[in-house]
Amino acid sequence: MTLSYEELCRRTAARDRSLREKVMSLEEAAALVPDGASLGIGGSTLSRTPMALVWALIRARKRDLVCARGISSSEGELLFAAGASRHLITSWFSQGIVWGVSRIMRAYTESGRARFEEWSHMAMGMRFRAGAMGVPFLPMRSMMGSGLAPRLPDIREIECPFTGDKLLLVPALNPDVALIHVQRCDAYGNAQLDGLQFMDLDLAMAANRVILSTERIVSNDQIRRMPDQTKIPFIAVDAVVEAPYGAAPHECYGVYEPLFRHLDGYAALLRKDPEKGAAEYLERYFYEPKSWTEYLERIGLEELLDAARRGRSIYDD
């Protein structure tokens, strides 16, 4: 994913960064992602995962996506199981600690069918930040001495020219496309995020193309009443998709918490037989539904309402 500086800037200059409407459907957004593209996936673990966009990519039968995310959960399992990706770059990968070690992750990595490229969480952050800053690397002080660094491509240990300290230089990560789910943005892509931001702001500026999914689209006037709440600028955004519950069954800060019962059911299904279970889940929730709304209907309104009640409670006294 390392581009020359000239090529990185050429790609950015070639994008239409003007103040223009860019609202489209999940299917149209998925069409912007070619097979083999490198993807940066926003959110972390069970939070603000751009699930509706991942759902659309899997339904579009994408192949060979190289995916990068700070911490990866069930979206990563499904990208492997659906055959959409065979290479995930992340710091931690399983559905979540409470459900144990991912059997899908194990099945694909232990058999060599897919690759789990492991960097420390801070290293993932430094790589996105370097990409956002337009520099080829950033220095950091962890991962040295461990078994991680020697297994990684494109990493350098140096002696600091100022202090003589040993430092690790990690390379910029500039994904072809970033997928980010937000609470609200306008039709131009000005996004205002609440609560946990994870690495999404750096990811958005690092990527060569940004696709936003949003719980709701608001007016540009509303955005401009609080410009200091805008966290991703329209100049960096190429597509906006309105997808309510767009992170379900994961959470969206202040809007809904994780849909725990659904996640427990998913885990139980995969525990029996990871590959058959994942195939069954994909069929039922990803391939059969005619629309995102039907996907949500299959999850069930009761779950959605309960998750929303818990989600909004973060603001209760």
Binding site: L46, I71, T90, S91, W92, S142, M143, G145, G195
Partner: protein, 257 residues
Amino acid sequence: MTTEAPPYTASELLAVASARLLRDGETVFAGVGIPLLAASLAQRLDAPGLTILFEGGTIGAFVVPGQLPPSTNEQRCTRRANMVLSSTDVLLLLQRGYVDVGFMGGAQIDQYGNLNSSFIGDPDRPTTRLPGTGGGNDIASLSRMIVAMKHEKRRFVEKVDFVTSPGFLDGGGSRHAAGLPRGGMFRVVTDLGIFGFDDKSKRMTLLALQPGVDVTGVQDNTGFAVQVAPDLSQAPPPSERELAVLRNFDPDRLYTA
């Protein structure tokens, strides 16, 4: 080693024993599971001014009893916290020197406190691929560490299959020489004992025994020769008060099954 079943689970013992190691006014970077639970417990007991940091991007957290998060990346970690910031920036606090104690669990540990959460067996052909480091490597590289884990022979090995999070590496000055001048293992808390590390050799050393455990019991469950501190002590069992507050935090036994 006694056989009578104690009135608490091994996880509860880990949570209580490690909570006692946290001091009021300290800043602790806590992982999910027992560390999150133990830090929250300490906050409600003798360390009300304990500053808890979470990897998802939280400073000064106060987890609500009965509303434990599934990881340190969900909104439950932030309710009524002092600050929410990016994951990258909260991890950078470790590098900037703001964190007193790093606190996490582990799958496999060796005599120098190196932790493995990546591969069981040959990393190129692992018998088990584990979930990986998360922020573990960053925390272990940049802070004074407390590790809480169940004590089993297969988990306490002479040399880990893979160093995911550095302890003292090969012991002596090897950690410093690797470019890690700060931090290192401070305590390992298990259901059998509490361990420190020898100042010179950096080998794991048994400091205290958990209730009903003797040195033989520890050695039988450890894959390397256990060093015993000259002033070996006996850890007091969890008190009623400690268990009551703990169970109030995790009524569904999410972390303390």
